[in-house]
């Protein structure tokens, strides 16, 4: 509890879901690179951390995976959003926005001194 890793795990899952929604089926490397790119350099991501997160989402049924062939004829494992995943994304997006709003309001309070 109270560990930033929790926040990170939660938000990483959210970002993965969003990425898969935006780009459609994608391999792990693609997901990691995309998240890093969209952060505009704000986020330095260990690509390796994406895989346990992908696995967890798959175990929970939000995404599914399949081996396929990339544009340049390389075999790769592709992940895609399930219907349940889509719903989860909606819900988590909403929750995220709410949480963020709360935090923003909270942080804008003036110090007592």
């Amino acid at each position: 509890m109270g560990d930033k890793a929790d926040v990170w795990q939660g938000t990483l899952a959210l970002m993965i879901l969003k990425t898969l929604e935006t780009l459609g089926p994608l391999h792990g490397y693609g997901v990691a690179r995309r998240i890093e790119q969209t952060s505009g350099g704000l986020l330095s991501l260990n690509y390796g951390t994406v895989y346990p997160a992908l696995l967890k989402l798959e175990q929970e049924g939000s995404i599914e995976s399949e081996w396929g062939v990339s544009d340049n004829n390389r075999k790769a494992k592709y992940y895609k959003l399930t219907r349940a995943g889509r719903k989860q994304l909606e819900r988590e997006t909403h929750d995220w926005k709410q949480a963020q709003a709360i935090l923003a309001k909270f942080l804008s309070a003036e110090p007592s001194t």
């Binding site: 509890m1 109270g2 990170w8 938000t11 952060s39 819900r91 909270f106």
Partner: protein, 111 residues
């Protein structure tokens, strides 16, 4: 646990530090009340999570504590932000903003 709470739970350090920054020295119960109030009851803090967090923050030197008397003449342990705590708060807040920015970008991005 709903994901919302998960996120807020993860920011507990930040919430505690900010509370002490906003309200000045405060006892545990007051901190919990304040956090609950601003989180619009989405985050039901119990002492089980708050006090270990307070201890951790104190061990790291971000807050300090001393016994005092509350408004209603009760003995209570009051926590206050240290100098290093204030610095930590800035860092945490900045970290949070940064992460929020990242997430928002990802969420807003279209192909």
């Amino acid at each position: 646990m709903p994901p919302k709470a998960e996120v807020l739970q993860g920011t507990l350090d930040l919430l505690v530090l900010k509370t002490l920054d906003t309200l000045g020295p405060m006892h545990g119960f007051g901190i919990a009340q304040r956090i609950q109030q601003v989180s619009q009851d989405l985050l039901c803090l119990n002492q089980g999570t708050l006090y270990p967090a307070l201890l951790r923050l104190e061990q790291r030197g971000w807050i300090s504590s001393k016994w005092g008397v509350s408004d209603n003449n009760r003995n209570a342990k009051f926590y206050s932000l240290t100098r290093r705590g204030r610095k930590q708060l800035r860092e945490e807040a900045e970290g949070w903003n940064q992460m929020a920015a990242v997430i928002n970008r990802v969420l807003k991005a279209t192909s």
